[in-house]
């Protein structure tokens, strides 16, 4: 990989240990994946925030790295933090404090684009939360690989990333056409379709035909499910997403998705309400529009939930919901909005037996943690819940 004189100096350690290590990581990844050079990034988004995932090992690395003078050089936000007992929270606070010392904007969300970190079309990024990566690539048309926690941190420090993968035009073309014959209408249909495609395709770039999503939230939920059950980082939707017009370069194989395949996903997650003891909305973090919808559904229901409802959201969305009165309504019916955090990255084992959710991604993870799972639309969940 070609390096400028300046980059060579960084690699040689002229600017200190932290920058040198970060540069070593970028150069190694560039060589492994055949990048020609480093390119500047507009922003970074770092996973490896929850103490559950980082553990003592990650915490120790962050401590050493901060002491060695690590500072980010581009605008950088964080993935959600974990929640746990007092001992856990003490470690979690230290993690956030270490990122703060690195000059990271300590806003912890999987939807940075709903607040602090909104890229534009064509921007190169180094993001590592898989649902944010697929949203940025597909819905916004920005360009990022699926970074790991350490590689996005290295990119944030240097302000650059190796030019390979989804930064290159040719790798953003569709690799398979998906003819959706199933009727996909509600948000949970989209989540189920995404879950099915992640399983079926692995890391393809699918081009979807036959769907007309009502809003970007539907695409957010579909992409998050694809990126959880598979490792898809970019998709195109005919007539909808910003790069669809140039997405088909060659003759491609076409697969179809029948009604039964989407239904089969929903059937997998139909555990009975008697086995459910919490409702989770906001995976990925809820938009203001989704929060408003829940407040309205609760008001229509007219009686408090027996099963507690948790809505996870970015701090920006929570602040708006507070100001606009939605939080108050939600709390009246036994709901809570939780900012900056995430159940998927928390030590949840034993807290609950089963969750009801509208999220394909949460369904995937909570099932893998051994929970009962009921997957349905927010509307049905709020209506039917005890």
């Amino acid at each position: 990989m070609y390096l400028t004189k300046e980059e060579e100096l960084v690699l040689a350690g002229e600017y200190g240990y932290a920058l040198q290590k970060a540069m070593e990581i970028l150069v190694a990844l560039g060589d492994i994946y055949g990048a020609d050079r480093l390119i500047p990034i507009k922003s970074a988004q770092i996973a490896g925030v929850s103490y559950k995932n980082l553990g003592e090992a990650g915490l120790e690395f962050l401590r050493d790295f901060v002491n060695a003078g690590a500072r980010v050089s581009v605008y950088t936000t964080l993935n959600p933090a974990g929640i746990g007992d007092e001992e856990f929270m003490e470690k979690q606070r230290e993690v956030l404090e270490l990122y703060r010392k690195m000059k990271v904007e300590v806003t912890s969300t999987c939807t940075p684009y709903y607040g602090a970190n909104l890229p534009k079309f064509g921007d190169n990024l180094a993001w590592s939360e898989s649902s944010a990566v697929i949203f940025a690539n597909s819905v916004i048309g920005a360009r990022t690989n699926r970074e790991g926690g350490p590689s996005s941190l290295a990119a944030a420090i240097v302000g650059k990333t190796p030019n390979y993968g989804l930064h290159l035009e040719e790798n953003r073309k569709a690799t398979v056409i998906v003819d959706v014959q199933a009727k996909v209408k509600t948000s949970v249909d989209y989540a189920a379709l995404g879950y099915h495609l992640g399983r079926a395709l692995g890391n393809d770039v699918p081009y979807l035909r036959g769907i007309k999503p009502k809003n970007a939230e539907f695409l957010k939920g579909m992409g998050a499910a694809m990126a959880a059950s598979g490792s898809i980082a970019l998709y195109h939707v005919d007539g909808e997403t910003p790069e669809h017009k140039d997405a088909i370069a060659d003759k491609l194989e076409t697969i179809t998705v029948e009604e039964g395949e989407v239904k089969a996903v929903r059937e997998q997650f139909r555990d009975d309400w008697s086995d459910i003891d919490m409702i989770l909305i906001g995976c990925p973090h809820a938009s203001l529009q989704e929060v408003k919808e829940i407040a309205e559904l609760l008001a229509m229901r007219g009686r408090p939930l027996k099963v507690p409802l948790f809505i996870t959201a970015s701090r920006a969305v929570k602040a708006l919901a507070d100001a606009l009165g939605y939080t108050e309504v939600i709390e009246r019916y036994n709901g809570r909005i939780m900012a900056d955090s995430c159940f998927v990255v928390s030590p949840v084992k034993g807290w609950y037996r089963g969750i009801a959710t509208n999220s394909g991604k949460s369904a995937f993870y909570f099932r893998s943690f051994g929970f009962n799972v009921r997957l349905d639309d927010a509307e049905n969940l709020i209506k039917e819940a005890p």
Partner: protein, 130 residues
Amino acid sequence: MKLKGRKIFGGKAEGELIVSQKPLSFLGGVDPETGIVTDAESDIRGQSIAGKVLAFPRGKGSTVGSYVIYALKKNGKAPKAIIVGEAETIVATGAIIAGIPMVDGIDVSKLKSGARARVDAEKGEVEVEE
């Protein structure tokens, strides 16, 4: 036997080989306190990688696995060198932050646990005593 690969992180090391023929996950797959492999799907489960030359086809699992490699080093339980068939982000990043010599592009199926290996990562070379 001399094998030629590619440098991922420079340095030289010599030691006893421990070879996994299956992809290895570090997060949840290797105990950072002891260096013992706990990955249920691993063919070297229950064995220690501490102080050995560790070879496996490629990494898998969570990207936080890089930090486990760092913790192994801090706890004095890291492998002396890492040899892989195909480098990917998790293990490469781990080797770099931990400062462990690493080579990729080696046909790991030719290697056997117990043999002595010399690794010159700068040159991408692995020499194994028959």
